[in-house]
């Protein structure tokens, strides 16, 4: 839940797929789902490497 992360001042926020599957998407075939998860994690790791201006929320994926 992005607003919750923002409310405590987090500055590196990657939007997940859904509350029920933050780093997964059961609608995708397994290999594509894993690729999706990997993109989220890579984006999160990239966020750790620098300090964003303000509270950055990365809307990594089309949330359908």
């Amino acid at each position: 839940m992005v607003p919750l992360a923002q409310s405590i001042g987090a500055n590196r926020i990657v939007q997940g797929k859904a509350v029920t599957t933050t780093t997964g998407d059961p609608a995708l075939p397994p290999d594509e789902e894993k690729a999706f998860r990997r993109r989220l994690v890579e984006r999160a790791l990239k966020s750790l490497e620098s300090t964003p201006e303000g509270q950055e929320v990365v809307w990594g994926e089309d949330r359908g």
């Binding site: 509350v19 029920t20 997964g24 998860r37 990997r38 994690v41 790791l45 490497e49």
Partner: protein
Amino acid sequence: MSQLRVVHYLNQFFAGIGGEDKADTAPGSEGRPLGPGNALNQALTSSEEGEVVATVYCGDTYFTENQEEALGRIVELVRESGAEVLVAGPAFGSGRYGLACAQVCQRVGSALGIPVVTGMHPANPGAEQYRGQVYMASTSDTAVGMGAAIEVMAKLAVKLGRGEELGPADEDGYIPTGRVKTQVHEKTMAQRLVDMVLKKVNGEPFETEWPLPSMEKIEPAPAIGSVAGARIALVTEGGVVPRGNPDKIPSGWAKHWARYDIGEVSDFTPDKWQSVHGGFDTTKLNEDPDRVLPLDVMRELEEEKAIGKIHEYMYSTVGNIGYVADMKRFGEDIAAELQAAGVQGVILTGT
């Protein structure tokens, strides 16, 4: 109606013993109101509801450094004075004094079974920790607000002393306790909601029935530079635990977190891992717990040397309906362990 016997707790300063140089004063008592106790006594006697029969005091430093002994002694002094109600402070913004007032109230209340009231600024650490256990008049952060504080505390003391129900926090002037009371309203929820929407649209003030908790802002950690070579930990409030939940992490209202060795684990497979989160349907998550804690792809990245190492332990709890104070403590405890272990970065997943 008989007059309530009110005992008043003060620190050395407000009891008139002295300032910081007398902060090591041990607990003592006098059979009369002292300092702000005079105003409290006047508020009680003018309404013929009660009187301040004794003042119990203790130096702030003494209390902090000898807390258990001081609390025991203070409880005895309050008992000996025949108190029917204890009033402590007000402490305004003073952290040490606020904590002392809250702890004295909490201890006297539980040991003697009498109503207790204190007063302080809502941001006082005493309020943050004890607002759910002790009624506290909401005061200004300096003694400028003494008059108003005493008035509210006297009213609360009388109401509680007479066994009357308190009204809502904003009406009776105390710091919200976080407890929700059931109340019958003359209008249905839908009617009240429409009223609120109309007020909002018309730019009129309205009051929510479900205020969001006010969150303290946490200073984010600085960047770590390149993650290649960095030790990265996985932490989650998604309730990922070994199947069978050996540490009994609850599905909500968690009071603890757990640490699991994942040094030899490459994937959270459903035969060995599960989520015990109670805030949503975990069916899809339990088909593959990597869907909330992405260990499988982290291992790939580790093998490809895109990151240095995944920390051997992952940390897990359930955030569902957790108290902010508990969650804050979890965060502090987990962060301290991770720092001690030389972890540079964390991927913290939430639901």
